[in-house]
């Protein structure tokens, strides 16, 4: 149980809230590369309505949605050689929010120099567009390994989920759910469909451990039949603070990025890399696809691992009511994460940078993160399961990836 007041502190992400202030110290994906074009698009991040555009000069811009003139939506705007022109009265703003033109005002007016649209820094990396909504000076956009590895294939899946991001993050420090949600319940769903269980995720956890480290929380597990010499314990894999999980094995590595849209919505991004034994030709661009959430009857899809996770997250409610929960010893990872959020909120309130904020270019060339290769005791078995039972099942390059790994469909 957590008090209602603490639960609100943990989950409210809007401007001026303690968690909102913490999260604004980080760069967040705001779009995939294909979303930003000449036609401005509405995006929402940390409770703020925004408009993303790429002007005819190729520069990305991210402005608060409402025009500072008469508050019309800048999504109804025209991209120009430089900047975005409001569709209502033609005021023109550049990517820094400067007002460049006010067509209806007298030619000698200096009014434009006193007007600014709210603008935020944006940057592209690895096929994602990141935004920083916090105070200046912005830290460096972290160059985590999957975003910058030169010799891998990638794809990006995404879906907007109707729940707060914290309950999704808590799932990442809850290893026991694997053997029950994916092992037992997943097998039950398979059984009803006349299919065999997914053996890779049914192994019992003998012990788990969590450790706060420089990138967040490193988690380890020993499964039935394993020892501490297995990579699941020896290496583990991290929750990357404040909003990512790194997971994978057998040549597949994924960031599950939980982008807080607002208090009750999360944009979930599955950022995959594939490293083949024999290097493949370079990709022309990173494929992007949406993950379906419901079947033709409107029921949550739950016949695969990511669908089962999504089901568990959203059925906790838009914001999980932690004042009515009952935690046990198997929830110590969840408790550790909550404590880490509270601790880092305190650091921000004390005027310090929280963890995982990078300002030294020398350490931001390629930030390597630990992760097992022999996941769940077997790289190949894990990979074959993951290509079938994760959101990759919807990837437009799945069959090509299977072939390049030498696996069968």
């Amino acid at each position: 149980m957590l008090s209602q007041e603490k639960n609100e502190r943990l989950t409210a992400v809007g401007p001026g809230t303690p968690m909102g202030n913490l999260l604004r110290r980080y760069w967040w994906p705001v779009a995939t590369h294909d979303m930003a074009g000449r036609v401005p698009v509405r995006r929402r991040l940390l409770g703020e309505d925004l408009v993303l555009f790429r002007d005819a000069g190729g520069r990305l811009g991210l402005l608060a949605e409402q025009c500072p003139h008469r508050r019309a939506s800048l999504a109804l705007g025209c991209t120009e050689r430089t900047g975005l022109r409001c569709g209502y009265h033609g005021w023109l703003f550049d990517a820094d929010g400067r007002c460049l033109e006010q067509p209806g005002e007298p030619a000698d007016s200096t009014f434009a120099s006193r007007i600014r649209a709210v603008s935020y820094p944006v940057a592209e990396l690895g096929g994602l567009i990141f935004a920083y909504l916090g105070p200046a000076p912005a830290p460096l956009l972290p160059r985590y390994d999957l975003f910058v590895w030169p010799d891998v294939w990638r794809d990006i899946a995404h879906a907007e989920l109707p729940c707060n991001f914290v309950q999704i993050m808590e799932n990442s420090v809850d290893p026991y759910h694997v053997e029950w949600l994916h092992g037992r319940y997943g097998s039950f769903v398979k059984e009803l469909a006349g299919e065999p269980p997914v053996r890779v995720v049914t192994k019992k956890h003998v012990k788990v451990a969590f450790e706060v480290f420089e990138h967040g929380i490193l988690k380890r597990r020993v499964l039935e039949g394993q020892t501490e010499q297995d990579e699941d314990w020896k290496t583990g894999h991290p929750l990357v603070f404040p909003g990512m999980l790194r997971v994978g094995g057998g040549g597949i590595a994924t960031f599950q990025i939980r982008v807080p849209v607002d208090d009750t919505h999360t944009w979930h991004v599955w950022y995959q890399t594939y490293r083949f034994d024999t290097p493949a030709r370079p990709q022309a661009s990173v494929p992007v696809y949406q993950v379906p959430l419901v079947d033709s009857r409107g029921e949550w899809l739950r016949d695969y691992v990511d669908g089962q996770d999504i089901c568990a997250w959203v059925t906790q409610g838009p914001i999980a009511d932690r004042s009515r929960e009952h935690l046990g010893r198997s929830d110590l990872g969840v408790i550790m994460l909550r404590k880490l959020y509270f601790e880092q909120m305190e650091r921000v309130e004390a005027g310090q940078d929280p963890i995982c904020v990078f300002r030294d270019p020398a350490v931001n060339v390629c930030i390597e993160l630990p992760m097992e290769r022999e996941k769940f005791g077997g790289a190949r078995a894990f990979r074959q399961m993951w290509l079938r039972e994760s959101s990759i099942r919807y990837s437009p390059i799945r069959d090509e990836v299977l072939g390049l790994f030498g696996d069968v469909a």
């Binding site: 957590l2 008090s3 935690l327 046990g328 010893r329 110590l332 404590k339 509270f342 909120m345």
Partner: protein, 57 residues
């Protein structure tokens, strides 16, 4: 039953940045406490029973 104040410095943990998280271990009610003021992290245990062991002699 909850823990309202830091066992180290007495700061009010129910408001502001203090953190109190209840969890159960068998019949024992546990409260993990972290105080932003003094930095103390500890677990307060409301024990169902008290066990004591006399050292060997």
């Amino acid at each position: 039953m909850t823990v309202g104040f830091c066992p180290g410095c007495g700061a009010d943990l129910s408001s502001g940045t203090g953190f109190v998280q209840e969890f159960w271990s068998g019949e024992d009610q546990n409260f993990l406490c972290w105080c932003a003021g003094c930095g103390l992290m500890c677990t307060v245990v409301i024990s169902a029973r008290l066990l004591s062991h006399e050292p060997g002699h």
